[in-house]
Amino acid sequence: MNRLSWFNTVSLTLGFAFLYIPMIILIVFSFNESKLVTVWAGFSTRWYGELMQNQAFLSAAWVTLKVAVFSSTIATVLGTMAAYVLVRGGRFMGRTLFSGMIYAPLVMPEVITGLSLLLLFIGIGLDRGVLTIVLAHTTFSMCYVSVVVSSRLVTFDRSLEEAALDLGCSPIQAFGLVTLPIIAPAVISGWLLAFTLSLDDLVIASFTSGPSSTTLPIKIFSAVRLGVSPEINALSTIMIGIVTVGVITASLVTKRASIRQRREEQEAARA
């Protein structure tokens, strides 16, 4: 492969600097001794210590985690079903409406989704709390899951399912023993996507949460509205760290697996 021209080198360097410098600054200043986030006063992990003492943040984090686990799990089940229906369901009454409802939440402004769900919950007299956030998050993240899973299902060789039926599986067994294990990576990434979306969501959670169920983004938002604080920097650093480790691990694992698979295929072809 040819080497990068100076133009490409410059645009890549500047581009990635733009993407990463803000986060690096954020991380660096989380280790700042001073309360002033913009003036460096020496290295300290003081803000991490204070964060660990902050009950409000800890309980918000706990609520967020609960919501994320429940909503992403339900969303994965529903989203996978929806993907299966879209790709394999054939024709049925209201199919267009169904696919419309799958794609619309992806482009719907969060303020509208949040508002409409809140009005529903009030309308049916459902008290706002963890349950309502879970319902709201499940609804929009199942659509993301279904997009991820259906893009995998489209390329899925249908004869694999037919072979399973042919060898004596009931349709449900065929799905469990053949389809699901093969599309598992897509289902898992769908779950991860739903989980992250739920962790990150501020707007919809603000509409659908009650006083007893403040999530972490709501807490962060109300804190940063008042200005920059080193505690938030520390919290952000922890969150960025978890995501970075997760994404890098995941990409290394998949890269290794694909390299191994390719090598084995080459060996098999040569033999």
Binding site: D157, L160, L167, G168, S170, L177, A268
Partner: protein
């Protein structure tokens, strides 16, 4: 002891394993299978042959249970199987793509169907080992499908579909993904395994050579209908229609008008100013009836002089020579402008070939060499 010929289709008392009765299958406005009736007998190696889109795959998928006929009846051993779902049929299928489960080892792929029957563990072990031995895959039992070669994958697919000892095995273009050399070896292997296991095989293929090699009988299909069902030699030597004659192998088709010419013989007037051709036929043709004489290139002799004893002889000029190594096909242009192909075996080295481009030659054949076909 004289060996009895395997030909249950000519025995009026034999009961077919599979019987299609007036089966029609429509997809929306498209008719994939039109009013088809067909018998397949036990232990047969039956080939469905036709161009893509002729309905052969639909026919096979109806046997496997993936499609239900729009109307008609499909019997397996005397029972209507139309309402039976694919997983409850004693029919297994080998898929064109092999459809090996990528997340399971070769061993687990073969055991997959057996496990669905709740077979005892040691019985499964025995059966899988038997299948591995039959297909010579013992060394690869622990490998995953992506770790073995294409030919080995094909054998795993075969072993997997045979493991449940089905009454009927369906093979959908089983050799389509293999290269030419491997394909030939595998054809013989397939025949061998079919003989050993005594299973009835139905194979779908668009490759006429493959069908000719492996099949006991061939059904030639076109546009949702069976055109002719016969043994490979009958299909080749006695095609019943221009379509079959043209589809299988190379053929010269000469159009003309028939008139009786003695016992079982007909005279064909085929071109102004040319001597009529003589052909034997069991069919009856009315005087002046339009007909086609179908004659295979290898049944036409080519010579420099007019042979004295030939029933038919025409003169022409060598227009083109296709050298195929073992054979040469001469494209001879007749005075009428028509091209007739004649094939000879290259028993001598090419430098000593008798004819070359533009040479005047005589083509000759006997009255029984060709088949006379009505339109």
């Amino acid at each position: 002891m004289p060996e009895t010929v395997f030909a249950p289709w000519s025995d009026p008392d034999a009961r077919p394993l599979i019987r299609f009765q007036n089966v029609t299958k429509r997809f929306g406005d498209f008719t994939a299978i039109h009013d088809l009736t067909l018998d397949i007998f036990e232990r047969e190696f039956f080939a469905l042959l036709g161009p893509s889109g002729c309905g052969k795959t639909t026919l096979m998928r109806m046997l496997a249970g993936f499609e239900t006929p729009t109307s008609g009846r499909i019997e397996l051993a005397g029972k209507d199987i139309v309402p039976v779902p694919p997983n409850k049929r004693a029919v297994n299928m080998m898929f064109q793509s092999y459809a090996l489960f990528p997340h399971l080892s070769v061993w687990d792929n073969i055991a997959f169907g057996l496990r669905r029957d709740n077979m005892a563990k040691d019985a499964i072990d025995r059966r899988v080992d038997e299948m591995l031995k039959l297909t010579r895959l013992g060394r690869f039992a622990r490998r995953k499908p992506h770790q073995i070669s294409g030919g080995q994958r094909q054998r795993v697919a075969l072993a997997r579909s045979l493991a449940k000892a089905p009454k009927l095995l369906l093979l959908d273009e089983p050799l389509g993904a293999l290269d030419a050399k491997l394909r030939q070896d595998t054809q013989f292997e397939l025949m061998d395994i079919q003989e050993k296991t005594g299973t009835t095989f139905v194979i779908v293929t668009h490759d006429q050579e493959e069908a000719m090699t492996v099949a006991s009988r061939i059904a030639v299909m076109d546009q949702g209908e069976v055109i002719q069902i016969a043994t490979p030699d009958k299909i080749y030597e006695e095609p019943e229609s221009v379509y079959v004659a043209d589809f299988i192998g190379d053929v010269n088709l000469i159009e003309g008008r028939a008139s009786a010419h003695g016992e079982g013989r007909f005279r064909i007037d085929w071109a102004e100013g040319q001597q009529p051709l003589i052909a034997a036929s069991r069919l009856e043709f009315a005087a002046g009836q339009q007909c086609h004489l179908a004659i295979r290139p290898e049944k036409i002799a080519i010579s420099a002089e007019r042979p004295s004893d030939a029933d038919n002889a025409v003169q022409g000029r060598v227009h083109d020579i296709a050298y195929l190594g073992n054979l040469s096909t001469y494209h001879v242009e007749l005075p009428t402008g028509a091209i007739v192909k004649a094939q000879t075996a290259n028993t001598r080295r090419i430098s000593r070939r008798d004819f070359t481009w533009e040479d005047p030659v005589w083509l000759s054949w006997t009255a029984t060499a060709g088949v006379l076909l009505a339109n």
